[in-house]
Amino acid sequence: MAALLTLSLSDSSVTNNQSLSSRSSNRSPRIEENERRKREADPFVLALKYFSEVKVGTPVVGNDELENNLVQVEKVAFTMGLSPEAISVMLEFAMSLRMGSSPCARVLKCLIPASVVPQDAVVRAVVWLSVGAIPITTQVLFIKWVLTVFDMIDAKDKLRAIYGIIFSFVTEENLCPFICHLLYLLTRKESVRVFRVRKLLELQSKLGRQPFLMHLLSLYKVFCPELLTISIPSRMRSGFKNHISPWKSALMALQKTNSVKVAPGITLAFAVKDKTGSRKRKLHQELPELSAVTNKEPETEQTRRDLVPIVQISSFTQLLENIHRIELPAQMASLLGSSLALHYLDCVQDESALLRLNFWLGCALQEEFLFCSDGGANQEEGLQFLSRLLFAQQFLQEGFPSSTVFLYKFLNVWNGSLLCPQILGLLSDISVIPSSQIRTLLLEPLMQLFFTSSLFFKCGLIECLNTMLVKWLTWHSVYTLDDDPDISLDGHTSVNITLSGFRDSVMELVQFVGQLASVGLQLEGCHSLLLSFILDFYETVCDTFLKFGLHLIIMPPPGVFYPAFFATDPVSVDRLAYIMCRYKANLMSAKIQEKVTEKAFHISRQTFRQFNQYLIFMVNCLWNSSMYSPETELLLSEELLAKSNVPQYWTYFDFIHHPAFMSYAVDFHQMCWPDRKNMDLNSIKQSKPWSWYLQYLVTQGFDGLKDFIKDTIKGVVTTGSGDESATLRQQLDSA
């Protein structure tokens, strides 16, 4: 055996030399000659040559040549690291014990790889290990070295091929912990065999609950849960220790100088296993751990052979490589716990798998929040659970059916404050509900909550409904093609939704928010925070046609329009102006499309009429200082307004006197006529100051107003005819 090995050793050194020389073969002979000479003169090369050729039985004591050469190698190793060839030579020298065991440890300690470690060298060293003459401390040192450089070994296939040989060292008491670690790194599904399981169990009965055995066994369980089972106490889930210490300083130094990525992942990733929370509590919503399937279908055992349990996947790259052969975990709900698994969940097509997840989720939610008897004593856990669920749903950009069903029930018992942000977040993920059910399921419970809750809840709810609407519209615009207006949106909910059905649902939702907003604004005295959220909502609504391609345009109710227009803060008025511009753009292009395609959709006259009313009212108020509106819904009678004793009340909502802009008018007045003692705001109305004033307003950042003026009022700046009645550039009329 030894003779055979030495023979093959010399073979390998020959091939090494060949590979060294063949590298430079394509250069010119002269340069090559020079290089060769230089290389031969290099003491490091000479040293390597010495170690590869030294005879068996050469004495160590008093051998200066050995000492000098070893110093040479160490010098290179600690400064630059050793090349793969050098590592092969030195490892071979040390493990073959050609000069006895004394220089062994010293050589091993200087085996600092510069780039990679050749797999063959390690395999040969393992074979030397089994020859058995090496002292046990050196053996341990060698395995520690393998563990340290494991990630730098260029390939692992041959190492896996000699899994059985490595496994046989498990019985060596001193080696066992390190061998277990190495096996842990090398184990694949096919290496788990009954006889190995029995051997390990036998060892465990001898050695007791050793962490290294437990970890290896638990890995075996991951691969073959049908062979063995083990339960690891939570305090022992720390993973393997690393054994980098003899090489640490050298590796670190090298890492700095070479900027080579040395030894990543030396600490073992046990990420899936470690849980931070204490295991004391028995809660319903505690996510199950990722674990491999025990209950396998016997008939599919063949095809299952090359499946990878998802527990084994620890990086996104791995996920991509194995995406076609990942085995789902025993409990689907465990996927919710890891963000990597969520990536996979997004591509799971298996109906049963998703149903399993929904069963679990539905039960966990109802047990925790509907049937709970302890009255929310563990709110902290509930919060974490919902946040995690919310994260998953946002990641998948879709609500789970079971959480939707849960919400329908929960809304009826919710007090509006328990876990409010999370519940509202989940609520906004609800997918389109058929218009026949939307009232009973969603809107009525929400209405009750809205009117009985604080201002902040009202704002939150409007925001949530806005998000929901955006999601519905986005969903629609993604899954409908322009040339294909009626996509049967089947399956999106239980009832097949046609496009018109979808439109009805959206209409129902928007009108509902309109009602909420009108009453809400009254209740809260047109609070500007609430108004701002409502205007957010209408910024979505006004663009349904152009932005989302939905053939539906809904105007805000008067209860929203007028409070926004009479608001005392300029921002609201500005946003209203922007919204009106967008409405106009949408209506115009809808009208054009209606003419061109002659099919499409039909916007009711009522919508146009309402838009025109609003527009005329706005322009008249802001521009013409009159409150005239054709068929206004303003039901205030003249007498009532006259009673207020405000002279010429109709002039009080132009750009100068509107409460939102008054302060700007005053500022402008002071800038224009700094010397005037008596302030006369009406003097701005003259044509020149008027156009300057408008420009001044625009420079204050009112982009909505700017667009509004540009869009709707003719010849503002050009003619500067402020006191003349401006005309509407474009009268939209459906008639």
């Binding site: 399981v197 029995r198 390990l200 169990l201 465990q204 055995l213 437990m214 049908e226 062979l227 063995l228 089972t229 083990i230 339960s231 690891i232 022992m236 199950p288 025990t294 209950n295 279908e297 409990q331 689907m332 709900a333 298996d350 109906e351 149903l355 929904n358 069963f359 679990w360 039960c363 966990a364 109802q366 049937f371 879709e398 059916p401 079971s402 069903v405 329908y408 029930k409 809304l411 009826n412 059910q437 009973t440 399921l441 899954y479 093609l481 294909d484 009626d486 996509i487 049967s488 399956g491 999106h492 239980s494 046609t498 496009l499 018109s500 099919k599 499409a600 959709f601 039909h602 009711s604």
Partner: protein, 359 residues
Amino acid sequence: MEKSRTSVTSTPISSVSTRRIRRRSFRQSTRSHFGVASRLGLTPGQTTHRFNTSRKAPKPQNITEKVSPEHLALLVKTEWHLCYVTPLYRFRHTQLKSYARQLSAFIAAEKQQGLGVEVGGLQDTFKVSMSVLQGLAETNDDPETVLIQVQSRPAFARQDEPLKTVWSGWLSCINGNPEYLHSLPKDFTCLPLFGSRGLEGLSSLVKSWLRSTFDCFFGPLDINQTTLRWLAALWTNCHMESNIQHLKMQWTLPAAPPLHVAYTVNSSDALALWRSVRKSRAADQEACIEIEEVTSFMEGLTSHFYRHFGVDLSAGDLNQVSTALGSAKVKGRMKISSSRYLISTLSLLTECAFLKIPI
């Protein structure tokens, strides 16, 4: 508007969009179970609405012919702790032996934390047996009931001493909602009712093994007020055929400290009251019992109590009902004393369990 709608519906769907839809359909398919779910959604929060408001009077059945006497002896006269279970994934009645091996290895591994246990190896502490409890299924859709028993040898027992059953439990589905059972994919077996008795620790071990093996969820099955009232009425109705001896009820009233009331009614008095509230011909045994009758029966009982003691029981909660035929507690404990009414009681409980399954 109408016109445009019809015109759009007739537009053929292009191939591109159908492909897109298919990609999407995977999660939709889960929603196809929403046939059940959306119905659930229509009566949000109030599950009792889906509860049968009318049911047949329980008929005494001689199931000794169908079920083996040992099994019957196991089921009756013991108090079971009830749970509901979501449908089991990849459960096969043919694999019970291998499940038993896995479960016993699992229990052994959990009991000796950190030690590996070979599946199928010799277990000297716990032995699990799983078997089919033949004869309980009522319809063809009902999966057969499964019985699980854990046996153990006492710590200092001699080697030849017989094993003692320390825990037993069963998974059952009697008269399950056929619509629901059919809507489930093939991979699922619906056994929603789980009863257990024995050491609490073993219960949670068995449950956690079932959970991880069949990806199901266990939740406590409370026997709610409505069910308890039903049981009281149904059992009273049984007095026509077999003596129930007495109707015992326990109430808790929200006073400080809480007032516990034990209310026992003589069986013949209860039956007389029951007969008086029965709208349908009392002679007609086949007639269904309506929820209104149950309500007025309970009202009769509580108003009688009020007349004598001035305490209005309807303000409190009914916690427990018991007769010679069995007893039921609100915390999900059920004891069936007579095998003649075993099936009807189990179907009532199965119905309760179905109500708890979220989709």
